[in-house]
């Protein structure tokens, strides 16, 4: 059984159809990359899996449990599923350490010492332990995004959703963030990421999904999608990426 199962979901914003019978599976320890033209619903899909957005039909299951529709404890779901956003979304009125400790102390009810030890261990891992007492606006974009990743990891999620986490970064800061993702993948963390970093996707992904027109138009291992795409739309998309010098 797959860890995440997206079964034939529908969603529309007014007349605009976002998902039209979209189906997707993510196995445990897999790294799945969502690619596709902007506006194709990559971010929306991640938000639906996390319960931040509703779907109009179909269902989403995480390790067999339905997490959409009525009667679902979204707060419990979110403990299992971490998400990192494009714009970091750190809490600006809290220090880095407080950002990381907030959910463990308030949601998991860890005592402060335990939560602080956990947070410091995570911050040490990403080399930002010396920034623990700083406020987010004193950090670079790359550092903020690394803290945001760690903040989600502090909840001990079974799967991480990464929503174009390097899109807002200056180019020279992208690597420090991708290195962390690479480490997570190597440790066997289940990852589902929406990304425009095609080179990175090709390197770490176990599976690439090309989203277009509300469905997963084509999926397969990176070598296949980047090397010999079957669908004309996929080929056109990749051609534009290559023209832009991004692959």
């Amino acid at each position: 059984m797959a860890l995440i199962e997206v079964r034939d979901i529908h969603k529309h914003f007014g007349a605009h159809m976002v998902f039209n019978n979209l189906a997707l599976e993510v196995e445990e320890h897999q790294v799945v990359c969502l690619i596709g033209p902007s506006g194709c619903g990559k971010s929306t899909l991640l938000r639906c899996i996390n319960g931040l957005d509703d779907i109009d039909g179909g269902e989403i299951c995480i390790s067999g449990d339905r997490v959409t529709g009525p009667g679902v404890d979204v707060n419990a779901l979110r403990r299992e599923v971490g998400i990192v956003f494009q714009s970091y979304n750190l809490f600006p009125h809290m220090t880095v350490l407080e950002n990381v400790m907030l959910a463990p102390t308030r949601v998991l009810r860890q005592d402060r010492a335990e939560a602080e030890a956990g947070a410091m261990a995570l911050l040490t891992r990403i080399g930002l332990e010396h920034k623990a007492k700083e406020y987010p606006d004193r950090l670079s974009g790359g550092q903020q995004q690394r803290v945001a990743i760690v903040r989600a990891l502090a909840m001990g999620p079974r799967v991480m959703l990464l929503d174009e986490i390097t899109s807002a970064l200056d180019p020279e800061l992208v690597a420090e963030v991708l290195n962390i993702v690479r480490d997570l993948a190597a440790e066997g963390m289940t990852l589902l990421l929406a990304t425009h970093e095609m080179g990175f996707a090709r390197e770490v992904a176990s599976k690439i999904c090309f989203l277009c027109d509300g469905v997963v138009l084509e999926e397969g291992p990176p070598a296949e999608i980047f090397g010999a795409p079957r669908q004309e739309r996929t080929r056109a998309f990749l051609r534009r990426i290559i023209e832009a010098g991004r692959l």
Binding site: R47, N50, L52, V74, N75, A76, R78, R79, G82, I83, F85, S87, N89, L90, F91, P92, H93, L102, A103, R106, V107, D137, A148, R151, A152, M155
Partner: protein, 348 residues
């Protein structure tokens, strides 16, 4: 050159007018029997200070002359520089002349009609004799203000949270909170105080009817200002970008936890200036409690005023209100400036 002459003429006129006013003031003081060597020296000093206006006008004229000479000598650059500084000096003269004219007009107003204005509003002996009586009554205003402000801060937040209650279950709560805000924002504070202050005792409700007048005043002011402050809170909470809520909820925090730890702490920082503005308004509203007969500073001063047929005691109250407001107004300015600086840092 024309500007220079004009500024000299204006300055001369204003100075002359100032002297006329000062002479009149001296006469008025003499009739009052207050004139003495001290007041004469003071008036002379003021008269000399008024002369200071001639200085920029005179320098303007000299610079303009210099400009002419330079032009005649063929030094175009020097002429242009001097013309520019002469013009600046001319406008400086006009600016100060206008301010000085206004100042002396005010003095004229005070001594007009045989000192009628000063006598009505600023009768020093009466101000002195009633000052401590008024000051003691002013404590009632401060007391009402302090208690209601604390209550307003709490009550306003409760109403704001009710207006933001989520989901279909929150709908009736939202509706009733909106209704409350609509009613009490529209209801003039003075009518509210009147209705509660006189109405509740008349109802004979057990327990509540025995509250003191001041408690009714506090209740009425809290209800009225609570509606305003609820809107201020709501604006602050809604000014926090949705992505903050998304981040907090995605970590598993509940709606209330998100508000408490993430949204409200940020929202409150945004609304400190408008909240302080509301404090000042509430402070002034405490003078309205006189309609239900509470002996606050205003009511006390009205009693003094009708006993002596003179409004000087009311002036004292006005002065006291202004006095406690100014530091707060400066504080608001400072906080707005600090906020702006911080935001600029944030965007860079």
């Amino acid at each position: 050159m024309r500007l220079a002459i004009a500024s000299l003429v204006v300055a001369g006129l204003v100075v002359a007018a100032s002297w006329v006013t000062l002479v009149k003031l001296n006469e008025a003081l003499t009739t009052l029997g207050q004139a003495g060597s001290v007041s004469t020296v003071l008036l002379l000093l003021v008269g000399l200070a008024a002369l200071y206006l001639m200085l920029p006008a005179w320098r303007c004229l000299r610079t303009a002359r210099g400009a002419r000479a330079a032009l005649a000598g063929g030094d175009l650059v020097e002429a242009r520089v001097r013309t520019a500084s002469a013009r600046t000096l001319g406008w400086i003269t006009f600016g100060y002349a206008a301010a000085q004219a206004l100042l002396f007009l005010m003095v004229e107003f005070l001594i007009a009609n045989d000192l009628a204005v000063s006598r009505t509003f600023f009768l020093l002996p009466l101000i002195e004799s009633s000052f401590f009586l008024i000051l003691r009554a002013f404590w009632i205003n401060i007391y009402i203000f302090l208690i209601s402000e604390v209550l307003v801060l709490i009550w306003g937040l409760v109403v704001a949270l009710a207006r933001l209650a989520p989901g279909p279950a929150g709908r009736p709560i939202r509706m009733i909170a909106t209704f409350y805000v609509d009613v009490f924002r529209g209801l003039p504070a003075i009518i509210n105080i009147y209705l509660i202050g006189f109405g509740i005792p008349l109802t004979g409700l057990p327990f509540v009817k025995d509250f003191s007048q001041q408690s009714f005043a506090i209740l009425a002011l809290t209800l009225t200002n609570g509606a305003y402050v609820a809107e201020v809170y709501r604006a602050g909470i809604e000014s926090i970008h949705w992505s903050q809520t998304a981040a907090a909820r995605s970590l598993g925090l509940s709606h209330m936890q998100t508000l408490r730890y993430v949204i409200i702490p940020q929202g409150v920082r945004q609304i400190i200036p408008p909240l302080l503005n509301n404090f000042i308004g509430l402070q002034k509203d405490t003078a309205l409690v006189n309609v239900i007969g509470t002996i606050d500073a205003f009511n006390q001063s009205i009693i003094v005023a009708s006993n002596h047929f003179n409004l000087s005691a009311v002036t004292t109250v006005a002065g006291l209100f202004i006095l406690i407001t100014i530091p707060q107004a400066r504080l608001v300015d400072k906080m707005i400036a600090r906020d702006r600086r911080r935001m600029r840092v944030g965007t860079s």
